[in-house]
Structures are given as C-alpha cells and as structure tokens.
Symmetry: C2
Subunit: 614 residues, 2 copies
C-alpha cells in the first residue's frame, strides 16, 4: 500500500471509530490510542482466538499479574540498564529525536542524491543495513560522521544519550519504593516458576502464558498505532529440559511451510527474500535450532493466517549475531509487511537459562527442576571438610561464618586452594573483607565420588512473544480493499472470526411494519446481530457496514411481508441470495461455526435463490 | 465466616494458586497480587459473563483506552484535588497509617473496654457511624481528641495530611508531561462522548462501557485481595436526557426484588437491615430516583446471583447526604458481606451533568446533544448587535476580537451591560487584560424573541461501576464450604459458568490401558476438560479438584475397559452415577449450556445408574 492508501486506511479507521487518538479534546498525547466499539470488539476477537489457539489448545497455565513492577525485579532482568533508546536533544527547541531513526531517515534521503560519491553511497548503505545492531557509541560516531542536524530546523543537536524507556513511579506513601510500569508481561511468569511447576505436579516441559498491557515510553512516537506507548501483549514462556528440546506434538506441524529469512540469507548479496520451507526440514537441517522453537513458529504461522494476514506479507527473520541477546541460542522475529515497511510483531526466542538464573541470583531462591534419576549417577568432585573441634577452638564465634564461606567455594576455587594447601601447608582466603589463614590440620580437600539420586537443573525458556496491538494494525492494513469500479468505496475483508460484527440487519425503507419483523428475527438466534436502523438509503447502509468489515447483511423488504423471505448479502463479492429467515440463519450459522473454512459462501448458499444485483 | 474461616479460605486459595502475592520471591509488594491459572480462568469467566450480561444484552458501545492519563484530564475531573486519603506518619519509624482506618480500629477497641464512660461510649459510636463522611479537619480533630497513637509502638504520630492516591509518572523524554495511572476507567468514555453519539447516529439514550485495570496507591493496604493497588474494573456510562430518565426495558425488571438500605433506614435507630422491595415499587415511591438507575440496580442484582453470591449477603446501601458527591442526584452502593464486613463492590450513581461539564469547560469543546424539535420553540433573550462599520473604523484590526468577546457574554452579564448602556450611554468591559470603552452608537442590547428549531443539552450520566476484583474475592468467600463430616475438607461451590474448570477427568489407577481411553474421551467433545493424571489416590484427586471448585469429575476404571462406561461425580453432593461415555457427556453438555438452570443434577442424571458412594 502506498502512503496515499495509508491515509485512506487511517481515515476509514477513524471515521468508523475503530480507534482515535486518546484525550483528543485535550489535544491528544502521541503514542496513546483509544479503541472505539468496532476496534474493541475486533481486539476481543483476536484475544479470544489467541487464547483458543495457544492457551486452550496447548493446555498452558495462564497467569495475570500487575503492571506495577518493583525496581529490583527489572534491575535483575536487565531492563534498568539495557531497555534504552539513544536520543538527541535540540538545545534550542527542546525537541527530542530517536538517534537511530534520525540516522536512518537522513541517510535514506541522502542516498537519493545522484551526486553522492559511490564510496560514500556504499558506506551509507552498510550503515543502514546494520543499524539495528548499533551500540550507543556507534550512534554517537555516526551522528558526527554524517553531521546529522535537526531535520526540521537544521540546528546542531546535542550528542546522543541513553534514555530508559520504562515509565517510572513510586509505590506507597513514602516515595521510597521506586517502581516501573512493566515493559513486557514475561517477568511475572519467571518469578512464579516454582508455583507453576508445583501445580503441574513437578513435570516438565510445560508452558505458561500472560495477556495484558505493557508500556514503553517512546521518545517521539510516530507510525500511528504501530508505535504505542501502551500496548497489548501476549507472551508464552515454555519451560523445557536443556538436554531435550523435542516437542511432543512436533509431528503434527512438521509439514507446515514457513517463510524463513535466515541469518545467512541476510548476510548474502542476494535480495533478501525468504525461503519457504517445511518446519520439519528447517529443524532437521539445523536452520531452526530445536523442535520446540520450530513448533511454535509453525503454530504462529497458522495463527496469523487464521487472522486474515496476507501470507505473502509475512516472514520469519532470524536475528543477526550482533542483534541477538548474548544468552539467546536462536531468535526469529515474525515480521509483517505494511505501508511502514516490515514490522516486527512477534518474537520467538530460545532464551536458555538467562531469566531464571538472574532472578535466582538476585533473590537467593532456587528456581530449578529436581528430576529423580532412575539409575543414580556417580559424580566425582573435590570435597572440603573441616575439623570442627580445632576450627571452633581457633575461630571461636567466627567459626561458623568462616566454615560456611569455605563450603560455598566453587570447584574451580577449591582446586586452587587444594594446590595451595599441598604447596604451602596452609591456605589463605578472603571473607567479609578480612584475610583468613587456615592451617592444613584444620581442613582437608580431597577428590570424592558420590552417588546422585536426583538431577537438579535450571530449565531453558523458549519464549514466543506477541505484540497484539501491532498484529491488529497489520490485519487492518492487509484486509483493506477498494472496490474495483470505485476507488472511493473501501471495505475490510476481515475473516468471519475476526470481524467485529458478524451480521448486520436492516430494512429497505422506513415502513412501519418492518421493525416488528426485525425484532422477531433478532430474537430467533443468538448470533451477534447488529441492527442498522439509521435513517439513510440502503446503498449507504451497505457502504457503512462494508467499512466496518461486516461479512453479512440481512435486508427486510416488502417481499418479506408477503412470504417471510429476506435477502442475505456477502461483503466481498457483494452477491445476494434470497431465502426464508430460517434458511438464511442456517446458512450463517454454518459459516460462523466452521473452524476449518469448509462452508464457503458458494457452497453454503447453493440451494438459495441468487439475486441479480444491479 | 470467622477470621479462622478466612485463614482457611486464603490458604486454600494460595495452595491451589488461585492467587499469590506478586513478586513474592523478592519479598512481595503489599496490595499487588498475581492470579494463578485457576484464578485467571475464573476472572476470564466473570469478565465474559459481565460482557454478555451488560455489553451484548444492552448493545453497549465498548471502548478501550490507555491507563496513562495526562494531568489536565484528572485535574478537570477533580481527582488531582479530591482523590486523597489522609495519612499519619510516625516520625520515628517512618511508617504511614490511614487516618480513618486508624481511628476506626482504635475506637472499636476502646469500645470493648467495660469501664468506658457511657457518654464517651455514645460519642465514639457516633464517630464510627459517620466516619465515612469525615472531612480532613474532622480527622485531624478526632485524632487529637482521642489521642490516637501508633498502634504498634505507641509513638505520637504527626497530624494527618492529605495524600493523593494516584500513581504519578511522566510521558516522553523531557519529563515535562506529568501524567497519572487512571484511578477509574470512566474518563475515556466521557472524553469520547461526541464520537460515541456520532456512531450511535445522534440518538440518545445509549450506554458505553469499559473493562480494564485501574490504580490506587493505597497508603498501607491490608485486607488481602480487597485492597489492591491495581485492580480490574468494569464501568458503564449511560447517557440520558435529563428531562426523561425512563428506561425502555424497565418493565422487564420491575418485579425484581432488591434489598435496599435507604438513607432513612441508616439514620433511624433501628438495626440497619435492608428492606426487600420490587424495583418497580422503589422507583414509583421515589425511594430510587429514576427508572434508569433502578433498571441498572435490578440488572446488577441479577448479575451477582448468576455469579454465585449469597443473596442474603448482598444489599444496596444508599449514600448518606454527606457521603454523596455534591453534583450527584442519587447513589447506591452494592455491598457484599464477607469476613471483613460489608464491602463496597459496585456503585450505581446518577452523576447528572458533572463529568461532561467539567471536560467541556476545561477544553472549550462542546459535549452536548442537539435534538431537532418537531415544533420550534420561542425563546426570548437579550441580544447584542454591533454596528460593524463604525466598529471597524474605531477598533481597526482589533475589531473582530472585541466583537467576538462581546458576543460571547452570558445573559447575566448582558443584562448588566444593558443597564450600564442605558445609564451611562456607554459600556466598558475587559478583554485580553485591557479595558475597552464602547459608545452606544456602536452597539445595541435588546430583548428579542427567536424561534428555536433545535434543543441543545448536556446529557446526564448514570454510572454503574464494578470492582471486578472485589466481586471475585466475594465469590470466593461466599462459595467456600467445608464438608459436614470433616472440617479439614474444603471446597468451592462455584456455579458452573464461573468455575475455572468444568470437568476433570482421571483414572482410578495407573493401568497402562487407561491413557488411550482417556484421550479418546477428551477428543470426543469440545467441553473444557482438564486431565488429572497425577500419581496419587483417587480420594486425593477428588479432594484437590473440590478445592479447585470443579463441578464434575469423570473417572475411568476397570469396568470402563469392559463396557465403556465411566462414573460421573458431582462436587457439592459427592454423588456419583455411571453411564456410557456418550450418556455422561450428554448430561454435562445439557448442564453447561443451560442459562436458566433448568437442568439440575437430579433431573439430568435421572436415567443413569446411581452409584453408592462409601
């Protein structure tokens, strides 16, 4: 879609109150949006489909936690340090710009200049290709190198500085308890790992899930609904044994073809076109790291198609090495093509042990799985033992403290102390800031073999994460159509399950006998009818309901009064059929309750009278 | 329920992970809670029932807006000034107490003292009865009068000071854009009034609705789930013509009996017991102010009974005059009785024109309904007219500005100017900080009669507001039971539509042939089964699923392998029947899809073999 198409799309969305900028009568706040009734209903439908497709189908453990999150939690997770964008300030106007966006925007414009030196051209293209992996100092350097100024005023900007994107607040009356609004829904799932494992009867693998709002204090949000400061997310944390990342249902999806833009393809000089490949093949050949990650990618693909996204405007793009978090094993972004370019809507990452480890370290609480071993395992390791009597006599009340510090030494350190003891007949070590010297008659360090009856391990986490708000915008973008014969007549071809309203029902004119017939029909069935009793022409009613993406319309006309038949109209083809109320409702019923799209319009209406539309 | 019962209730809720304090491994944050899988599913069910009962049934316009809300909006709504609690600080320990809670707690304790002077006794009782309406200075005075100290340390406390209960943050990079987390979901609905009216084709009455999280920075939250700092709300704003507050569907509910504790009853010396009365009668006799308010009270009552609350533990308590906002016409709180006393869970208020007026004033945007009059109305008023030619000659480029300032004068002011003009032959007035003198040949002010073809008015707002989190806690409280013969065996008697899991399915033992039979049954029907394949006795499985409030259990046993029959167990009666898988599923099906509770257990299982339970 061109940006003209985008303007038309966004004006239709606003005209029909799918959404509106929030607080508009107060001048609005950029990056905040209200969903109006059709947008809200569509969002409900998407959430419901997500819940069915993932939580119910996979028997996931859903939890719902607060958005307010204490400082310590997000410090441990790395968000306090790393959830930042770099921003440049115009010291005169006090406007702020996101450094990476500014560089992209400026270099793209300069590339259009025909007089640009070929060498410079290449350098700018390289910068653009790798900017997603730029560090802060890369950004500072690039801003200087290309002398990038304020794009509006051409003022010289301050050098980029990091800006934490979390909204900060305080909990309680004292103002001492610093907290943030969560940037994602995942942390609550990690923190509850032990409880989740417990209600899953200690069994692994299992998945948890959360649906809810998250927050990101964007520096200067543009791109409409795609860059919201408050947005709906859905996240899955799948906990799995690091030694076995197979998925019990992988066979069910292994034939699913997904479009993969691998790291290798992105590094090549070829055009960056994804390759369609069965996910089974992708895992077998090592393109995708493991079965569980592959399983979710296939399920994500199926989910998006159910929502009505254009399958040719979707790809999984693998993270480049410099883009991926250091702890992650593999990561693929589900991206959708819109008039704003390719938009990251979903992330599928194997995050290994990172999350559980950081929270366990920070709190001192163990977040592990204890697996009973059928055959106990021998383990040989260095063991330090203390002669308690002599130790107590020498260190008195400090004895316990020193002993426990010694017993917590790692195998590496024990090895060094063992060497030291052999060499010097004593060992020295630091605890509580003092140096303690321990004679060889007080301790022994020896290699011993023990039998282990349980295996204790930190599970790995595979995380499919969904930006539902962004996905909804892409549904709008992909389903927006104009009529072949009239550019001004637009409509949304939402799938039946996504459409805010399934059927509108109206009358051909204002005859006084019509309303009672109408209410009779509405009461017949529970299908979510919406009555359109506006005082306007039937053509305008059709046009309005097309813009709302309502798949079907029932019209009551004068013939209805004679033979109780009504017309049923289909949105995309604009074809109409006529039948009794019962027949028409039965047709709609079939199509609404049809998870596998077996009942097409043609098949379902075959027995009814086809109406010629002028 | 005694507080012993409460401990048991809360430990069961935590054991089965209905909820847990958030961030528990970090030490927790009081007033923040996570819902675990059963709690989350129960919450989903309650939200779904609310949506069906209100939004779908009444064709309401749902909107979904951000929690982040700019300062100006909440300044206009009055929350910046008035959404406060008074707190007392212990200057030594730095602990904070809510002044009203502290007074209540202390006086209640002192009343138990047998030596208290009868006059003091009466005064303390009076204070307790009216404390909900106390102003800040009432609280300061009472704290001093009774010399109320820190209940833990007995330290003297600082005098109470107001504390705003909204969480504060900043939007954007500059830190200049002060914002709050919304304390309720209503404001977004008021701000969108014009758009809502527009998509409702300009017709009134109509209702909008929002479901979402709101926030309240409680000073020192106790009372568990009832005093959360972040909580789920659902709010309806019903916009109505102030001259006609009838409700088109009132007749459908007028016989609904609701328990009313009127203002009058609360002021009487009688015990404060509510009176059951048909809502039609209550509106007719003026006990409830109007039909629309009464309609919602009846619908709220129906809703709560569907959720399984005990009808004898519910009342509508009318606000006392000093409790009610100055602009409100009438207000009734829906209160539920729990071990913490009567808890306000729902508010039903007629807020008149307050909300639309304050936002209209602050923004200068009109938020009104324009109604076309069938017969135009005469209206006589003072009209100011300007001699444009002379005016232009005199004021030059300032002419337009001064003219428009004159034309916007209210009728009151015009009257004064009219007098002034008659008396002095000129008028003076202030605009843009300067005093302008206008001679009588430049303007005229005269009484004129005009014909009005439209009526323009600010609609009144009737607001039913639901604390869904609190309602959920009350469901837990009201549905918690212990078995007659064993105090330690507890269960939740949730209604089928509320229960997190409808049916669990399990096997009598670990026979290797059972799992395939089980998966066959699970696949037969879409009913939300939960498999319990834990490695424990059948008795323990029943006990666990009782604690989860699962209404039905299917057990596969050795007879199943012979004749394909299974047992079906009902939670409350613990009765069991046996039938073929098909029969049993058909029984469950009937009961699950039975909105009017027609299919009782006895009726539905009449044809099946009754199993004697030991």
């Amino acid at each position: 879609m061109t940006s003209l198409g985008r303007d038309k799309l966004e004006s239709t969305l606003r005209k029909r109150f799918f959404y509106t900028p929030s607080f508009e009568i107060y001048g609005g706040v950029s990056g905040l949006f209200d969903l109006g009734p059709p947008g809200c209903q569509l969002q409900n439908n998407v959430v419901q489909l997500w819940r069915e497709h993932f939580i119910v189908e996979e028997d996931m453990l859903q939890i719902d936690g607060p958005m307010l999150t204490p400082y310590d939690v997000l410090d441990a997770s790395g968000h306090v340090d790393k959830f930042t964008d770099w921003m440049c300030r115009n010291p005169k106007t006090k406007d702020y710009y996101r450094a990476d966006h500014l560089i992209e925007q400026t270099l793209k414009k300069r590339l259009l200049d025909k007089d640009v030196d070929p060498l410079d051209h290449k350098r700018m293209e390289d910068a653009l290709a790798t900017i997603d992996g730029f560090t802060g100092s890369d950004l500072v350097r690039t801003m200087q190198e290309y002398r990038i100024n304020d794009p509006v005023t051409n003022d010289v900007l301050d050098a980029p500085t990091p800006f934490n994107l979390m909204f900060q607040t305080n909990i309680g009356a004292s103002g001492q308890s610093k907290a943030f609004l969560r940037p994602e829904t995942a942390q609550g799932q990690f923190l509850n790992f032990n409880k989740l494992l417990d209600i899953n009867q200690g069994k692994i693998p299992f998945a948890s899930a959360s649906i809810g709002k998250s927050f990101r204090n964007e520096i200067s949000p543009r791109s409409g609904l795609l860059r919201a400061r408050e947005f709906l997310m859905a996240e899955i944390e799948h906990f799995v044994d690091p030694l076995d990342k197979s998925h019990p249902k992988f066979d069910e999806v292994s034939d699913e073809e997904v479009p993969l833009l691998s790291r290798q393809l992105q590094e090549s000089d070829e055009p960056h076109l994804p390759v369609r490949m069965a996910i089974g093949e992708a895992v077998k050949t090592g393109k995708v790291e493991n079965e569980t990650l592959g399983y979710y990618m296939a399920r994500v693909h199926q989910f998006l198609l159910r929502l009505g996204v254009n399958k040719n405007k979707f790809r999984f793009r693998q993270h480049m090495k410099n883009e991926m978090a250091h702890y992650a094993t593999d990561c693929w972004d589900g991206e959708l093509l819109t008039s704003y370019g390719w938009i990251e809507c979903i992330g599928c990452a194997d995050r290994a042990v990172f999350d559980l480890t950081v929270h366990s370290k920070k709190t001192g609480k163990s977040l592990t799985v204890k697996q009973k071993l059928n055959t106990p395992k021998e383990r040989t390791k260095l063991v330090l033992e203390v002669n308690k009597k002599l130790f107590g006599r020498k260190f008195k009340q400090r004895a316990k403290l020193i002993e426990s510090a010694l017993l917590s030494l790692s195998q590496d350190k024990l090895y060094n102390k063992h060497e030291e003891l052999n060499k010097n007949g004593k060992l020295t070590f630091q605890t509580n800031g003092e140096t303690v010297e321990i004679d060889q008659n007080l301790v022994s360090i020896e290699m011993k073999t023990t039998l282990q009856h349980t295996r204790e391990y930190i599970p790995n986490v595979i995380e499919p994460s969904f930006g539902l708000g962004r996905i909804i915008y892409c549904i709008f973008d992909h389903c927006f159509r104009t009529r072949l014969d009239d550019d001004e007549r637009t409509y949304f071809s939402f799938p039946l399950s996504v459409a805010p309203i399934k059927v509108f029902i109206t009358t051909i004119s204002n005859n006084e006998k019509f309303p009672s017939v109408m209410s009779q029909i509405v009461r017949t069935k529970e299908i979510y009818f919406k009555v359109d009793d506006s005082n306007t022409s039937i053509g305008k009613k059709y046009a309005r309901n097309d813009e709302l993406g309502t798949p079907f319309g029932i019209t009551i006309d004068f013939q209805t009064l004679q033979d109780e038949t009504v017309t049923l109209r289909e949105r995309d083809s604009m074809r109409q059929v006529r039948g009794t109320v019962e027949e028409v409702i039965s047709v709609i019923d079939k199509m609404v309750h049809d998870p596998i799209n077996e009942f097409t319009w043609n098949k379902s209406t075959a027995g009814l009278l086809q109406v010629a539309v002028p």
